[in-house]
């Protein structure tokens, strides 16, 4: 697939001397959903801001569908829609006015039918005359998306789209992203949540301390990095893990009431079934059971540790 966005040798050092990005190279393929993962301060937002024209880069080149973002900024920016992380909206404008404003700002002729469709798709139509200030947080987030989609972009940046968003809206957003992809829109999202990348992305990039440390097909990444935890609440606390369980990677909580088993969920034999069988055989009873995916943070720790 040809790349629609090409980032080459991009660095950013702020006036304070802080280096936010170091020689970043990244190609985004046309029509894919790309998740950019990274902890706070890793450089995700700076990278997006450079591509969108909000922050000046120190070095490097960026082309959007072949258009250089500096020399041919009009063509490049017309193709991009951005939904920033923070809910930054002119609070006193109506939903209808603010979305039409965004469309005009990107040089598109008025098209009330299209704007109506965008608002309906995002369940905002019945709020079209409401002022932004009166909307709930979730509604404001939808409004930010509506603004970004108002000029029919071919690339959509979603910076932490589901941070602080309820489950229903998160599902709606994922659904919307899939619909956009079907229409051929390339989507680049940043997130803290591995589940989000897992549910949506075709490819995943990991950025840490301003460097892209990995770009991988999602399935491959999950296989490499996905670890799960099985947490067992014991009926009777243990003083120590019995010797016979030494082949399992078990941890006992300080009070002895909780046993945690960490395993690779992509492994052919993750060992969960055998562990439970062995526990039963040893007479260790549990009253509750829970499994947890490894958090991105843990994945990071692993990833960074593995770095030379």
């Amino acid at each position: 697939m040809p790349s629609i966005l090409s980032i080459s040798g991009v660095s950013k050092t702020y006036a304070t001397g802080f280096t936010a990005l170091k020689e970043v190279n990244l190609d985004i393929q046309r029509g894919e959903i790309f998740a950019l993962l990274g902890p706070n301060g890793a450089g995700k937002t700076t990278l997006i801001s450079i591509v969108c024209g909000i922050v000046n880069r120190s070095t490097g080149t960026v082309t959007v569908d072949g258009h250089d973002i500096s020399k041919d900024y009009r063509a490049a920016r017309s193709l991009i829609g951005l939904v920033p992380q923070e809910l930054t909206i002119d609070a006193f404008e109506s939903v209808w006015a603010t979305v039409n404003y965004s469309r005009g700002l990107f040089g598109k002729p008025a098209n009330h039918g299209f704007v109506e469709k965008v608002l309906r798709d995002l369940s905002l139509w019945d709020k079209k005359d409401a002022k932004a200030i009166t909307l709930s947080g979730g509604m404001k987030r939808r409004l930010m998306i509506a603004k970004a989609l108002s000029h029919e972009p071919r690339i959509l940046f979603l910076d932490e789209p589901t941070a602080g968003v309820d489950v229903e809206l998160r599902q709606d957003m994922w659904e919307m992203v899939r619909r956009l992809r079907e229409d051929g829109v390339t989507i680049i999202l940043t997130t803290h949540y591995i589940e989000e990348a897992e549910a949506m992305a075709d490819r995943v990039g990991v950025i840490n301390r301003g460097e892209i440390i990995l770009v991988e097909n999602k399935a491959e990444l999950m296989r490499k990095l996905g670890r799960k935890r099985l947490v067992l609440e014991l009926r009777n606390p243990l003083t120590a893990i019995p010797e016979s369980f030494s082949r399992y990677a078990l941890e006992l909580s300080p009070d002895g009431g909780q046993l945690t088993y960490t395993y690779d969920n992509q492994a052919e034999r993750p060992g969960v079934a055998s562990l439970i069988r062995d526990l039963e055989a040893s007479g260790i009873q549990f009253r509750d059971i829970d499994t947890q995916n490894s958090s991105l943070e843990e994945i990071f720790v692993n990833l960074v540790r593995r770095e030379p």
Binding site: G53, Y101, S102, L105
Partner: protein
């Protein structure tokens, strides 16, 4: 040229004025009327006329300039500072608009509002004193030129300001005193010796003097100098705005 973007920004700016009609239009009209009542009656009863013009009529151009300067600055500075403050500036910076288009839209919006306001004050003044405009073309010319120049100046302040306090700083501490001391309410010929010279360093003197000339054909300084000074200030503002955009100063990090 992305004219649709210019129009979109301009429309939003004008809509803001109508949304805050009380603050944007009515309050300057009320304060101007109060100036008339206080200055016109209190001082006017002692100074009957200056240069053959009744005191009430004499202060009209100065009063319009006073509002024109302060409103142009506050309209334009707020218009660009507010998106910076709430963060919605991201959209402007990521849009396919040139710096020139941004300036035309914001400064155009701010200048339009203050010109409308100037005309409303003129109409209000005509209720208090009989008005006579000797050079209507130049009157409109000075009105537009001053509104545009000071809207540009306000735009610069809006970009420079990092807080609401800074936003108010220049208008309150510099522009208002200069306007009051710029001959709004008196002729600089009435000032004693050295002050007459010092006051010539105040750029607002030239604006008010030129504007007053367009009304009554009489000026403190020659109209050519007034026009020249206004154009110089306009050129300085354009140069600063061009530098801001070239460097991304306080807009793009």
């Amino acid at each position: 040229m992305n004219l649709r973007a210019v129009w979109a920004i301009y429309r939003v700016e004008m809509a803001r004025a109508f949304r805050t009609v009380l603050q944007s239009i009515i309050s300057p009209v009320i304060s101007t009327s109060l100036y008339f009542v206080v200055f016109g009656s209190a001082i006017g009863s002692r100074i009957t006329e200056i240069d053959g013009i009744s005191y009430g009529a004499f202060i009209v151009p100065g009063l319009i300039m006073l509002s024109l300067l302060t409103q142009s600055i506050s309209n334009a500075s707020f218009a660009i500072y507010f998106p910076k403050f709430v963060g919605s500036i991201y959209e402007l910076l990521s849009a396919p608009v040139s710096y020139l288009e941004i300036v035309i839209a914001y400064v155009g919006g701010a200048a339009t509002k203050s010109i409308i306001l100037g005309l409303i004050i003129l109409a209000t003044a005509s209720l208090f004193v009989p008005l006579h405009i000797e050079h209507p073309f130049w009157m409109i010319g000075f009105l537009v030129l001053t509104a545009v120049t000071f809207s540009l100046f306000g735009f610069i302040i809006g970009i420079w300001a990092k807080s609401f306090e800074q936003l108010q700083l220049v208008p309150l501490l510099i522009v208002t005193p200069l306007t009051f001391l710029g001959g709004s309410f008196y002729s600089i010929h009435m000032l004693p010796g050295i002050w007459k010279t010092i006051t010539l360093f105040n750029p607002v003197v030239y604006l008010i003097s030129g504007f007053r000339w367009s009304f009554y054909g009489k000026a403190d300084v020659s109209v050519g100098v007034s026009l020249g000074m206004t154009l110089v200030f306009l050129a300085v503002c354009i140069a600063i705005v061009a530098w801001i955009f070239k460097t991304g100063y306080r807009l793009r990090n």
